[in-house]
């Protein structure tokens, strides 16, 4: 029988399919459709130290094979999360991973220290790649010194598995991946959204309140896939592939390019069942190809 389990650092995942941060709420919303314990992991909505209202409406625009968003990390802050949301979700039998954000290194550290205390949070995904906030976020993720500084400081305090989420808005993804690996990241997840823009020609106005926003969905898949491939050859830590994954074939492509696991994001808006369909599809693929373990796929691109 095909074994779908994967290991990242010391964590064992039932399968390599995770739902991406900001596209799966706090897991409860997906649990309205099906039992989230079937998922490899749920990456929770990005949290910050203090309450953030996020950006003004409109925050989204549909684009060809994808969408732009400018949510801007709306959340009620880490303390609210700990008091009100964590108790409701902590018993889901899957890995819950906190997506940690900050506008300064100190904020990232403070949020990490608070999340350290939560037994049922398996790992921290350090988001240094949000394109929709004025301070922090992507500013850390687009330069090696910035990415190194925040990873180093958070690594010092972080007692959990540390995943660093990379921005694709860089010239060379391998430099950033190597930089965070050098500072003790256990894994890198890539990619976050691409900075983009949409305009209403008739009204001559931008479609987003923030003018620019983050592009996601199938439109970005080939670029994300290329970046995963490049990163795979640059670092030794496991890679979590993200970007426009809509079906099992997409997920397998990312794994062949070197991803040890994948995250499904925007596809969930189309159909919240897609992550489960991908799990089944991967199992099917393994059976068809006579593969016993996920390791038989990861990085196994024939050249």
């Amino acid at each position: 029988m095909a074994d779908l389990s994967v290991k990242i650092k010391d964590l064992d995942f039932k399968n390599p399919v995770m739902t991406a941060s900001g596209t799966s709420g706090f897991a409860e919303e997906l649990n309205d459709f099906y039992d989230v314990s079937k998922l490899g992991a749920v990456l929770l909505k990005g949290i910050t130290l203090k309450n953030r209202d996020g950006n003004a409406y409109p925050r989204m625009a549909e684009t060809a094979s994808g969408m732009l968003n400018a949510v801007g990390l709306q959340n009620k802050g880490v303390d609210y999360f700990i008091q009100h949301i964590y108790p409701r979700i902590k018993d889901y039998d899957t890995h819950l991973i906190a997506n940690v954000n900050g506008s300064t290194v100190e904020e990232y550290i403070e949020v990490t220290e608070k999340v350290n205390e939560l037994e049922r949070i398996s790992a921290i995904e350090l988001n240094i790649s949000c394109p929709n906030v004025k301070e922090g976020g992507m500013l850390f993720g687009i330069s090696c010194p910035g990415a190194e500084a925040v990873t180093r400081e958070v690594r010092r305090v972080c007692t959990k598995t540390l995943i660093v989420k990379l921005s694709p808005n860089v010239t060379d993804i391998t430099e950033i991946a190597k930089a965070v690996e050098g500072q003790g990241a256990d894994s890198v997840s890539l990619v976050n959204t691409f900075l983009g823009m949409a305009i209403d020609a008739e009204k001559r106005i931008p479609l987003l309140s923030t003018i620019t926003g983050g592009l996601s969905g199938p439109a970005i898949k080939p670029i994300a896939l290329r970046m995963v491939w490049q990163a795979y050859h640059a670092v030794k830590i496991p890679i979590i592939g993200i970007g426009g994954i809509m079906n099992a074939a997409d997920a397998i492509e990312f794994m062949l390019a070197g991803a040890a696991a994948v995250q499904v994001g925007t596809a969930i808006f189309k159909d919240p069942f897609i992550p489960l369909q991908i799990i089944d599809g991967i199992e099917n693929y393994m059976k068809r190809h006579g593969l016993n373990s996920i390791n038989d796929i990861v990085g196994k691109l024939a050249l």
């Binding site: 919303e29 209202d53 996020g54 409406y57 969408m67 159909d271 919240p272």
Partner: protein, 260 residues
């Protein structure tokens, strides 16, 4: 049992109601969950690259014995146009039930329901389900012209109907807020419900607020998911930015931060 479903439904009717609105009736092979007027479904139009996301539509009519859902769809852009072109017999994928519906009136209350354009649908649904004596249910329906109104004969039994048109071709000339019932009898109502263009709902909200009458409106903010995971559909409220898809689409006007 899951609280929300993703299901393929078969279109059994897709017919023009008037110049801009279509009636789309879909059937499920399974019993439907209970819908409250004001709740909506999120429809996948197809997999073409230009219509990537689903489109939300309020429920107009439910027939629990036939397992059918009807929608009133106004042609606005590429998605709604494509939806109205799908032939009977084909199936489309829906997510439902979504959002929170209108607050039901309590027995013996007098209610005023105001609908504009495709917003007429949820108002007719509420009139039918209100449980009130029809004498206490009053509806003002507004449109540009006679041709833009839909035939409501099947609903006359549930309440008293008034019409407005901008050109005066049916009912009173002008906007819904200029109708004599709205102008002269507003204070006789315990609850006002509205669904339609923003400008219409704001004009209604302004008067309801002045007269301190309970008033709920149904918002149509742009949505990516429709079930609370993306935080794209937010509306500023006295409780902060709330998702229209999960905390709405129906809101009490006192909770909204409308400049009215």
């Amino acid at each position: 049992m899951s609280l929300k479903e993703v299901q393929n439904l078969v279109i059994i009717e897709n017919t023009p109601l008037n110049a801009t609105n279509f009636l789309i009736r879909l059937v499920s092979i399974k019993p439907l969950p209970k819908f409250v007027p004001g709740q909506f479904v999120n429809v996948e139009i197809n997999n073409s690259s230009e219509i990537f996301l689903r489109r939300p539509f309020s429920v107009f009519e439910i027939n629990y014995s036939l397992n059918s859902i009807s929608l009133i769809v106004k042609i606005l852009g590429r998605g709604s146009k494509k939806l109205t072109e799908i032939k009977a017999g084909e199936s489309v994928n829906l997510i439902f039930p979504l959002g929170k519906g209108f607050t039901f009136p309590i027995p013996n209350e007098r209610i005023l329901l105001i609908g504009g354009g495709s917003g007429v649908g949820p108002m007719l649904f509420l009139a039918k389900e209100s449980g009130l004596n029809p004498d206490n249910v009053h509806l003002i329906l507004g449109a540009k012209s006679f041709e833009d109104h839909i035939n409501i004969d099947d609903y006359r039994q549930f309440g008293n109907f008034y019409f407005t048109t901008e050109d005066g071709s049916l009912g009173e000339r002008g906007f819904v807020t200029q109708h004599s019932v709205f102008q002269n009898k507003l204070k006789t109502f315990d609850k006002i419900y509205a669904c339609g263009p923003d400008a219409m709902m704001k004009a209604i909200a302004r008067e309801a607020k002045k007269s301190n009458i309970f008033c709920e409106v149904s918002l149509e903010n742009l949505m990516a998911c429709g079930f609370g995971v993306c935080l794209c559909c937010i509306e500023p409220t006295v409780r902060g930015n709330l998702c229209v898809c999960t905390e709405g689409p129906v809101f009490n006007i006192n909770d909204l931060k409308w400049q009215i």
